[in-house]
Symmetry: C2
Subunit: 203 residues, 2 copies
């Protein structure tokens, strides 16, 4: 049976906070040890709960995993849409989008690593449709911006399709090496990527 938040509004905030803690902790632990290799025991211990306590917030271990992915993709997609809503110069839109994206990825390191590790799960099964769709939608947004850059400047390799793959690769891979507090800020990284793509245009 799937759990539901408390009906009394006064308790809602605490419930939500607690649930967030569960998700964030799980993202970190799953990223470190792997989803399957983390038992519910270990997981709940890391949150200060007993094993049964998890099921107060989530129907199952898998639903927790889905929530991690949703909390990664949904806000990113929404913010990207807001960013691209007003018209603007394509290359400036591209830069703003990549900045947002890199910052998001860096701030959700655990979520992102889990998302990548469990790619094979995400690509099958009905429960994963929302995650799949969100990713697809986001990639479409990026592709759209790249196409506009290409149409305006004609500087991207290959009509932009290889550029899309390259950009996805660079940004998603960031989480594997980037550590906050290092020499580069997320902004530096994002601009570095964009500069690579736009290097052939006049700057």
């Amino acid at each position: 049976m799937q759990p539901s938040p408390p009906t009394r509004p006064a308790l809602r905030a605490r419930y939500d906070r607690r649930r967030e803690l569960v998700v964030d902790t799980a993202a970190r632990v799953f990223a470190e040890r792997g989803y399957d290799q983390t038992s519910v025991q270990e997981l709940t211990e890391a949150m200060g709960l007993a094993s049964g306590g998890l099921y107060h917030y989530f129907e199952s271990k898998q639903h927790l995993l889905i929530e991690i992915c949703d909390q990664l993709m949904d806000p990113l997609l929404e913010q990207a849409r807001e960013l691209l809503a007003p018209d603007g110069a394509p290359d400036e839109q591209l830069r703003a989008l990549v900045r947002l994206w890199v910052a998001h990825v860096v701030e959700h390191r655990g979520h992102m690593l889990v998302f990548q590790q469990e790619r094979h799960l995400i690509e099958r099964g009905d429960e994963w449709r929302n995650v799949r769709d969100s990713r697809k939608q986001f990639e479409r947004l990026v592709a759209g911006v790249l196409e506009r850059v290409h149409r305006e400047d004609a500087v991207l390799p290959d009509d932009g399709r290889l550029a899309l793959a390259a950009l996805l690769g660079m940004v998603n891979h960031t989480v594997q090496w980037y550590r906050p507090g290092g020499r580069l800020t997320p902004l530096d990284v994002a601009d570095g990527y964009v500069d690579l793509l736009l290097a052939r245009s006049a700057r």
Copy 2:
């Protein structure tokens, strides 16, 4: 107890061929369903063996996984070393290296996906030292070439460190989208990546 190949030389070739089949099949199935989510039953079924048969070739399921990663990294590292042994123009060496690398990744799709999925395993534990070292060595080779390109042309963003991360991201991500028989050959892809990195230099 770890299994050993037959002592009689006449039987060795067949044993090796069979063992290769096990590794390649496992790479494909693990990539598709995930390592932990594939039972030894399912796995051996896909090879035409009964569950116990696996242990004729591998000590454990985990040792099979290690072998998959070794068979991915070791030949790549060796070929890369051969390629870089003779002196040559840095940007030509870079191009040749990326061509080799992309081709290898595309030809070992399953191995590569498994390698990425099980990153968290690879980063801990003594059994994984060889895999870790191979990857490290390979990344050092790439970094070395990039440094030489940078020293000669001074065109890479950020002394080449961000360029290294970008290149690793692009190439490793290739396995997520590239399908043989499509519009692009592995060569096109590799050259596309290199052109992105070298775009600011005279071409």
